[in-house]
């Protein structure tokens, strides 16, 4: 755990970031189920720390949004928590993490998140919130540190990690149609 933080001070920046290519995403939701399995041991969407939202009657490319936690430099979720349950784990890529023992389920963090849908999720049965921890606590899935369940499972490599802090919000959504494969499949690369 990152311990008590001085909220007045700058927080240590994360050193690993989840990025996505929404134009490449297939909407299969495998990332969500894998995330839930790795973290909670159950196949479900409601405890996934990544959110895919798709309108099946929508038009490409605005039909899908890939909701990833940005590991914000100044995380509103952390600032909003009055229990000190959200901290920065400097031992794990500076991930912004929620301590389940301290979380009271008040959902202030959820509401404070700048993004829609909120990247903090409330698990009704457990009555606590969860968020992306860059696969720090995955009791149900053994893996090499730094390998993320969602990235590993994505069948088309529409998710990836980077150690470079993405520039602005658009920096999290990038073109991952690389290697010539997408064009071989006659799918748009631009």
């Amino acid at each position: 755990m990152g311990g008590t933080l001085d909220l007045e001070a700058d927080l240590p920046e994360a050193s690993l970031f989840l990025i996505s290519d929404p134009k490449k995403c297939t909407g299969c939701h495998s990332c969500m189920v894998t995330c839930a399995l790795a973290h909670e041991g159950k196949a479900q969407f409601s405890s996934a720390r990544i959110l895919i939202s798709e309108d099946r009657f929508g038009s490409f490319p605005i039909d899908i949004t890939v909701g990833t936690c940005r590991q914000c430099k100044d995380p509103a979720c952390l600032r909003a928590c009055q229990e000190g349950a959200i901290s920065v784990d400097e031992e794990h890529f500076g991930a912004r993490v929620i301590d389940p023992d301290l979380c009271t389920g008040c959902r202030r963090c959820m509401r404070a998140c700048h993004f829609y849908p909120s990247r903090v999720r409330f698990m009704r049965e457990a009555k606590r919130t969860v968020k992306c921890d860059l696969c720090r606590d995955t009791p149900h899935w053994k893996h090499e540190k730094g390998r993320l369940a969602c990235v590993e499972v994505c069948p088309v490599n529409a998710l990836a990690t980077t150690t470079e802090p993405p520039l602005g919000l658009s920096g999290y959504e990038v073109n991952l149609r690389r290697g010539g494969g997408w064009s071989k499949l006659d799918l748009p690369t631009g």
Binding site: K23, K24, C25, T26, G27, C28, H29, S30, V33, T34, A36, L37, A38, G41, K42, A43, Q44, F45, S46, S47, L51, I52, S53, E54, D55, R56, F57, S59, F60, P61, D63, I64, T65, G67, Y116, P117, S118, R121, R124, H140, W141, K142, A149, E152, V153, P155, V156, N157, R177, R178, G179, G180, G181, W182, K184, L185, D186, L187, P188, G190
Partner: protein, 681 residues
């Protein structure tokens, strides 16, 4: 049991009430088809009722793997008395993928039983434990897309960004068409079976659902690892795919990949899209929304006619595909309808002032005007559409053409009135498996090895990926428990043999357990040949077992799984027997015996052909097996072999009491015995 959501939901449309059954009572059947057929058997005392009888009970059951991470597993079965089969409305099945199979499990249900009939249009909403009935008067008349959007609008997107999941019928279903589908999203449907018409008879416009729960998994980490193992070894790499030509055309194996051909008119503004938890993601999704999520027969339905008229596949094909979904019409039936109508028109039988009098603009086949006109006539039962809405055999019967056209082959409906798919005269097991059940079997397990790979490669002057001898080796390795290489021998001499009986039995047993009950997608399983796998071998049977053990925590031998499939087949067979099925009815129409199959040309300028593996004079090779027709006596000999292999009475084709008892189906045996005794008395 791990993999189960835990509850079965009974919906009584007549009284607008619900009831719950603990899934553990039916645990032995797994999920999907096995579970649905067992529920139907128990809940429908009189199996001889007609499809539109309010007592007809439909069961929708997601596969055991639906909602889990097993690749290609978000699929569900629907069973009940079907409207489509001819001449009899047999107990039948239909299958649909997309989002809803997983969502239904997340809502807490392993099956939904639809009983009775509403007295006015009704829509049912399932939201976890809450099930509510809604007046659908305002939705009645809407097409399936508009109905889904209207319901989704009423429910609203969740705060997590999840869009509501809806199944709906369109005008074809409302007008009791026997070829009406039940549509889900833009491109998923319960197509075959005519269950859309059955929903219409029950005044059931739609079922919507939202679920926030999950599916318990015995070994979550093992499941993640099994999924990653399957993807990394056996699936395409989206960034560096080694493209093999026949993979572009077909996807009926685990290593298939997104196809170019579904929406060729929209190349640069589309994504490839998938059912939930799919590794393959075979459906296109476009900026224009034309052809959205349409693939296989829905996408191809009008392409040949469009191409012939315009020299290329145009947006008209996408509009035609959308129209099928919107009106809720079975794509296979519509595809064959255009071919059949054109044949009748060209022979001077059908047209304005002709024997089959219609104002349908047949000279415009290939244009949008024709397909719009045709599909609207079918959906709203206008003029000739009133006949076509009954399905082609019943339409031909009304026109006094049935016997003649089933003899000439102008009407290609080789099994229970269903349109031809793969030809029983070439891939004979496909015909047998369809005839011995109650619909076009639509199981592609052997299809790549038997047909697509050799035919596409040879027609394109390429060496097939595997030689015929190597294909036989693969079958001998993987088609447990028979492990018989001659199961893939399509020589004339082998068509009526015990080897082909094993092919047919394996296909049915495997499909009933792994695909239709566990929910694996036919587009990916079984996986015999796979260019990404070691020595071009697919992941069957290792993959299926790994997934099953990770989800359920139970040990399962592959041979045991096939025996479980055999048990489900016998349950189905008991229901058909109770409906009056007899071996004498299991015959192909005359054209199968009297007219040669000629194959198809997949390369411009090449003669039509149909290349299959054959074993002749002790040597394996690929051979063009057309022209070919079947022999009546041979088919009868085959049936006897098959019935004996299954432990069925060769005189009647019905399961024997001993066979049923050996499969722990004593109750079913007793009911069949009572029915047989009653018939004899």
């Amino acid at each position: 049991m791990n993999g189960h959501a835990g509850t079965i939901l009974r919906i009584d449309l007549t009284h607008k009430t619900t009831e719950l059954i603990p899934t553990e009572r039916y645990e032995e059947w797994g999920g999907g088809h096995g579970l649905a057929a067992a529920l139907f058997f128990d809940l429908v005392p009189d199996k001889t009722i007609g499809c539109f009888d309010p007592r007809n009970t439909l069961v929708i059951a997601p596969g055991l793997f639906a909602g889990t991470l097993v690749p290609g597993s978000s699929r569900a079965e629907m069973v009940g008395i079907q409207a489509q089969s001819y001449p009899q409305e047999w107990f039948g099945r239909s299958n649909c993928g997309g989002r809803f199979p997983a969502m239904l499990k997340y809502a807490g249900y392993d099956a939904v039983v639809i009983e009775g009939a509403a007295d006015s249009p009704t829509w049912v909403h399932i939201s976890d434990a809450s099930v509510t009935f809604h007046d659908a008067t305002g939705l009645w008349g809407l097409n399936t897309y508009d109905a889904q959007k209207a319901i989704a609008g009423k429910i609203g997107v969740t705060k997590d960004g999840e869009h509501p999941v809806v199944l709906a019928i369109g005008p074809a279903g409302e007008n009791l068409s026997r070829i009406a589908s039940i549509q889900h999203d833009a491109g998923c449907a319960f197509g075959q079976g005519g269950f859309g018409g059955v929903w219409g008879s029950k005044k059931l416009k739609a079922i919507s659902m939202m679920g926030t729960g999950g599916v318990p998994i015995a070994d979550p980490g093992g499941l993640v690892d099994a999924r990653l193992w399957s993807e990394r070894i056996y699936s395409y790499d989206a960034d560096m795919p080694r493209v093999h030509q026949w993979q572009e055309f077909i996807t009926s194996h685990f290593g298939g990949h997104p196809n170019r051909q579904w929406v060729p008119f929209e190349k640069s503004t589309r994504r490839t899209s998938g059912c939930w938890n799919c590794h393959l993601n075979c459906k296109p999704k476009t900026a224009s929304q034309l052809g959205n999520s349409a693939h296989c027969i829905t996408a191809l339905f009008y392409q040949d006619w469009d191409l012939a008229k315009h020299g290329q596949v145009t947006e008209i094909s996408g509009k035609a595909a959308n129209l099928l979904g919107e009106l809720g019409i079975n794509a296979f039936e519509a595809y064959e309808a255009v071919t059949y109508l054109n044949a009748l028109h060209e022979s001077g039988v059908l047209g304005k002032g002709k024997h089959v009098d219609t104002s349908l603009p047949l000279e415009d086949i290939g244009e949008l005007r024709f397909v719009e006109d045709l599909l609207h006539r079918i959906a709203y039962r206008i003029e000739i559409g009133d006949d076509l809405a009954e399905g082609l055999p019943r339409a031909a019967e009304r026109w006094g053409r049935l016997e003649q056209d089933l003899t000439s082959g102008d009407l290609k409906a080789p099994f229970w009135g269903y349109p031809i798919h793969y030809d029983p005269r070439t891939e004979v097991y496909w015909g047998y498996a369809s005839l011995l059940t109650s619909r076009d079997v639509n199981c592609h397990d052997f299809n790549v090895a038997a047909f697509w790979m050799p035919t596409l490669d040879i027609m394109n002057d390429r060496e097939p990926l595997l030689t015929a001898a190597e294909v036989a080796e693969v079958i001998a390795e993987k088609a447990v428990p028979y492990c018989d290489p001659l199961m893939i021998d399509f020589s004339d001499e082998n068509l009526y043999s015990i080897h082909m009986a094993r092919t047919t039995a394996w296909l049915l047993h495997y499909s009933l357990f792994w695909k239709q009950s566990c929910g694996l997608c036919d587009n990916a399983f079984a996986d015999f040949i796979n260019p990404y796998g070691p020595n071009n071998r697919g992941l069957t049977p290792e993959g299926e077992i790994r997934f099953y053990q990770a989800v359920t925590g139970r040990d399962l031998d592959f041979a045991e799984s096939l025996e479980a499939g055999r048990r489900i087949l016998n349950l189905d067979r008991v229901i058909w027997s109770l409906q009056g099925r007899h071996r004498d009815q299991e015959v192909f129409p005359p054209f199968v015996y009297e007219v040669d199959a000629v194959g198809t040309s997949y390369v411009p300028g090449k003669d039509p052909a149909y290349y299959c593996p054959v074993h002749v004079n002790g040597r394996w090779s690929y051979k063009n097996v057309v022209p070919r027709r079947l022999d009546r006596a041979g088919v009868e000999a085959f049936k006897t072999l098959f019935y004996e292999l299954e432990g069925w009475d060769p005189e009647s084709g019905r399961p024997t009491a001993d066979t049923l008892r050996s499969l722990d189906l004593a109750r079913e045996a007793a009911e069949l015995d009572r029915a047989n005794s009653g018939a004899a008395a």
